[in-house]
């Protein structure tokens, strides 16, 4: 056996036998003491409450809490089915009998408490307000104000709302007294969990009833025009249109009279991309009106134009044998030839001037002006309706439906039949004799927005107003906005929620179904488990951060917090970073990567409960009100080399905003919360918190039509209306 050597004890352990005994004593390790983590965190909370009371010079209640109990607990109050209640019996005075004080809160035990509400604490008898307010302790540390309504105390967070994703413990200490001066003899704690922070929700916009007017307003008669040949001004204030006499007129959409630009023989009005000029055809020539000067220039171009428009910065026009533009020297330059057989007519140019649509007898084609290649759209009898704002997709009509197609003629979606127009906001209006519908290009959010006649609807560039024909006159109306399009994050978060709920429910097979092969491997390895068992137990989860990190395929990254609880008390959490990728075939998201992140004990200072990442701003939400002086240097972002990024830090209502950032798409960054961050109760963050993330992808996504970019043009340029000849006439 090893002999025991301890310099401190050399003079007292002088023989081998004593040293042998000392060696035996020191070589024995005591078994780990059984420890209830809830006790440990609960004691910490009590200590912090007491420390806070000491600091505030308030009456100490802990002595009573640790005094021999003169109280007992009873269950929830009978008759309050939805209200969790806690009953405290307190012996008020020796020999004076037992009086019952009941403390209730409608949120006690609730695990999805909305953020914007006070914490209501109801007493069954009148209370002394100052002592009761002084006895209120809140974890996490929160600045509050108080209000009373009879026997109900409203504890209102000073910041206006509760922190998201947070378990609150609101304790009424025994310092609380009744109006008659009798104290509550034991602290009572109300516990609840708040919901996630609000996000822009994709909720359906209530549709107006068919009888609801859209602000329809009659502007001017069309003098027997067949169809509508029109063009909105780039600022959506006026409409240029050709009436039945061939006059080109302009009329304000709101108030004002008709101004005649050309009295007869006009067609094909087209506002330039910069909005400063208007081109149109008259008597076989191109005329260009410059708005600023009011001067009209006449271009004699050959061959004779049948349709004119703007391609980027110069005129393009269609003639019988091809599509032309004007060369630098003023001469005509053919961009692409048209077929030489049958009856051929160009019906529209795309907004970017790169394509044209033409009819050849009964067939409809799209012509790539750069390559000269034509692609047929649909079957015989198809008629052209309009372009997407960017010109990367179009709509044509068949005898049964409207069809959204890409420039290769591939059908993207099928819509109800009617006269269609595609807005800068990616809303499509479909008009007709009896009503008007609105839909997304993929056919979602389809709804009837009004009854009545709405022929040839034509969106203004603002995506709100549209022109149409009713009863031989030109009208304008305003369409209700469509609900926001579901984002990549919306779709991916549904998968994350389903995945986490299956794990909470212990249904591993359902959770596993949301993993692809990589994802399954991640959970099959040693680091992660689909099912989490034991005590503390997996009780809830929330999404800490989410961001789009890639397109083609759409990729999103989520950091999820799994909260572990002992009894009702949240004691720790652990993070998982999930990467979801949209499957090319099914279009559904699957979890492709998963990595384990930080594991933290709760109740040790302010905790980050939400991180919102934008390219220029990162918003970090804490569960506690912070000491503002500790914020500026306490929350930072490092780049991949560990260099701190320049950012402006501001703080209000538990939220630290880092602005002035320039996060690069796909680059690695780390959010660092240092232990210098201190909450209003004076407690520092226990350990540094790091969150690794990527610069978000700024590109906007078309969720449903991968090959069609549904991106609105940043500065809407006027697109030709469904051009003459009228598609349905």
């Amino acid at each position: 056996m090893n002999s025991y050597h301890d310099p401190e004890l050399e003079d007292v352990l002088q023989d081998d036998e004593l040293r042998r005994i000392a060696s035996m004593l020191s070589s024995a390790r005591a078994p780990e003491a059984p420890l209830d983590e809830a006790y440990r965190t609960g004691l910490r909370r009590q200590l912090m409450n007491e420390a806070w009371a000491m600091t505030e010079g308030r009456q100490s209640w802990w002595r009573r809490a640790f005094a021999p109990p003169g109280l007992a607990w009873a269950g929830a109050a009978a008759g309050l089915v939805l209200i969790m209640s806690v009953v405290i019996y307190t012996s008020l005075q020796p020999g004076a009998g037992v009086q019952q004080i009941v403390v209730q809160s409608p949120v006690d035990g609730d695990r999805s408490v909305a953020l914007a509400q006070p914490i209501l604490v109801k007493f069954n008898q009148p209370m002394d307000h100052p002592s009761t307010e002084a006895a209120v302790q809140i974890m996490p540390a929160t600045n509050v104000t108080f209000g009373w309504n009879q026997n109900t105390l409203a504890v209102q967070p000073a910041g206006g709302t509760l922190a998201p994703n947070t378990q609150y413990h609101v304790t009424i200490g025994p310092g609380a007294k009744t109006a008659t001066g009798k104290p509550l003899s034991s602290p009572q704690t109300i516990t609840f969990v708040t919901t996630a922070p609000p996000t822009p929700s994709v909720t359906p916009t209530p549709r107006p009833t068919p009888s609801t007017a859209l602000g329809e307003k009659q502007l001017a008669g069309l003098a027997g025009a067949h169809g509508l040949v029109s063009q909105w001004s780039s600022d959506s204030s006026s409409i240029y249109y050709v009436d039945g006499h061939g006059a080109l007129n302009v009329i304000p959409a709101k108030d004002g009279g008709v101004t005649v630009i050309a009295p007869d023989g006009a067609s094909s009005p087209a506002v330039s991309p910069t909005g400063d000029r208007l081109a149109y055809l008259r008597n076989g020539k191109v005329e260009i009106l410059t708005f600023a000067s009011g001067k009209t220039d006449e271009l004699s171009v050959t061959p004779t134009p049948t349709l004119v428009d703007w391609g980027k910065d110069r005129i393009v026009w269609a003639a019988a044998d091809g599509v032309y533009t004007q060369a630098d020297d003023g001469s005509s330059h053919q961009l692409a030839p048209l077929p030489t057989t049958g009856t051929v007519a160009v019906v529209s140019f795309s907004p970017d001037g790169s394509h044209a649509s033409y009819s050849q007898d009964q067939n409809l084609f799209v012509l790539d002006l750069a390559s000269g290649k034509s692609t047929q759209l649909g079957q015989a009898g198809a008629t052209f309706l309009g372009w997407s704002p960017s010109g990367s997709a179009l709509i044509y009509a068949t005898s049964d439906n409207d069809v959204v197609a890409n420039l290769q003629g591939v059908t993207q979606s099928t819509l109800p039949a009617g006269e269609a127009t595609w807005s800068t906001q990616d809303a499509i209006l479909i008009g007709g004799d009896t009503d008007i519908l609105q839909t997304r290009p993929d056919g979602t959010n389809l709804g009837r927005i009004s009854g009545g006649t709405f022929h040839f609807p034509t969106w203004a560039p603002n995506g709100t107003t549209f022109a149409f024909v009713r009863g031989g006159s030109l009208w304008v109306a305003t369409a209700p906005p469509l609900p926001p399009e579901p984002t990549v994050l919306d779709e991916a978060s549904v998968v994350v929620d389903t995945f986490m709920k299956a794990r909470l429910a212990g249904t591993a097979d359902q959770a596993s179904a949301l993993l692809d092969a990589n994802g399954k491997a991640a959970y099959a390895g040693g680091g992660l488990s689909l099912l989490i068992s034991g005590d503390p137990s997996f009780s809830r989860y929330y999404i800490l951060s989410s961001e789009v990190t890639g397109v083609d395929p759409d990729t999103a990254r989520f950091v999820v917090r799994l909260v572990l609880s002992h009894g009702k008390t949240d004691v720790s959490d652990q993070e998982e970073a999930l990467t979801l990728v949209r499957d090319a075939t099914s279009k559904q998201f699957a979890i492709d990567q998963a990595t384990a992140g930080a594991h933290r004990d709760l109740g040790k200072g302010a905790e980050v409960v939400s991180v919102d990442i934008q390219n220029d701003t990162v918003k970090v939400t804490f569960d506690s009100d912070l000491d503002p002086t500790t914020v500026t240097d306490g929350v930072t972002i490092l780049d991949a080399k560990g260099k701190r990024l320049d950012a402006n830090a501001s703080y209000a209502n538990r939220i630290v905003m880092l602005t002035g950032l320039n996060l690069k798409d796909g680059d690695s960054y780390r959010l660092v919360v240092l232990t210098t961050i201190r909450d209003v109760s004076g407690q520092n963050v226990d350990a540094e918190y790091d969150l690794d993330f990527f610069g978000p992808t700024a590109k906007r996504h078309g969720n449903h039509q991968d090959s069609v970019t549904l991106t609105p043009t940043p500065a809407p340029s006027p697109s030709p209306s469904p051009a003459s000849p009228s598609p349905t006439s």
């Binding site: 056996m1 090893n2 401190e8 004890l9 003079d11 007292v12 352990l13 036998e17 004593l18 005994i21 000392a22 035996m24 004593l25 020191s26 070589s27 024995a28 390790r29 005591a30 078994p31 780990e32 003491a33 059984p34 420890l35 209830d36 006790y39 440990r40 004691l43 910490r44 009590q46 200590l47 912090m48 007491e50 420390a51 806070w52 000491m54 600091t55 802990w62 640790f66 040790k604 200072g605 109760s681 004076g682 407690q683 520092n684 226990d686």
Partner: protein, 186 residues
């Protein structure tokens, strides 16, 4: 030469003296060892929780009066714990049997006869439990908690010499039982 961890602890203690709300960090640092020590003495989880709560509550309340004597902060917490345990023994009068305690794991090289040795150590700790309270406390703090004599002295409110004497008497008394402690194989 200054000890960085001691400097760090001094800073934490000074902050907690000025502002009791800083006490949480000290609690986090020392909870485990104090709880383990208390549990080793009272051997019952609920009792250990009661005593540990009392220790930290008393420590928090006494923080403003805490004087840094150059000894670790933990020594002061042990002192409160020793007193709290003594109070509890005084009130309960009786100690609980040790039969299921010190089901020991053994540090160090493998022994020829582990079972016999474990049995021997179980018996020696049983004998420790039969020692007078102060000898017992001194042996536990020295041999289980690995504390320095001077720190034990702070914890027990005695001089280092007195602590050594307690240890000497305790170990000597155990030697008197040496025959019963010798492994059967010898």
């Amino acid at each position: 030469m200054s000890d960085p961890s001691r400097d760090d602890e001094r800073e934490l203690v000074e902050r907690a003296k000025r502002d009791p709300r800083q006490f949480g960090t000290l609690y986090d640092r020392h909870f485990q060892q104090i709880y383990r020590f208390v549990y080793s003495r009272v051997r019952e989880q609920t009792a250990a929780e009661d005593v540990t709560s009392e220790v930290f509550m008393k420590a928090l309340k006494a923080m403003p009066r805490y004087q840094d004597t150059g000894r670790p902060f933990a020594a002061w917490l042990y002192q409160i714990a020793v007193n709290a345990i003594a109070d509890r023994y005084r009130s309960l009068k009786t100690a609980q049997p040790l039969d299921d305690f010190h089901d020991l794991s053994v540090a160090g090289p493998a022994l020829e006869d582990v079972a016999a040795h474990r049995d021997e150590m179980r018996r020696i700790w049983a004998l420790v439990e039969a020692l007078p309270l102060q000898q017992r406390t001194a042996l536990v703090l020295k041999f289980q908690e690995d504390m320095k004599i001077e720190d034990i002295a702070v914890a027990m409110g005695k001089s280092p010499g007195a602590v050594k004497l307690l240890i000497h008497r305790g170990v000597t008394r155990l030697r008197e039982e040496a025959d019963t402690l010798r492994p059967m194989a010898e």
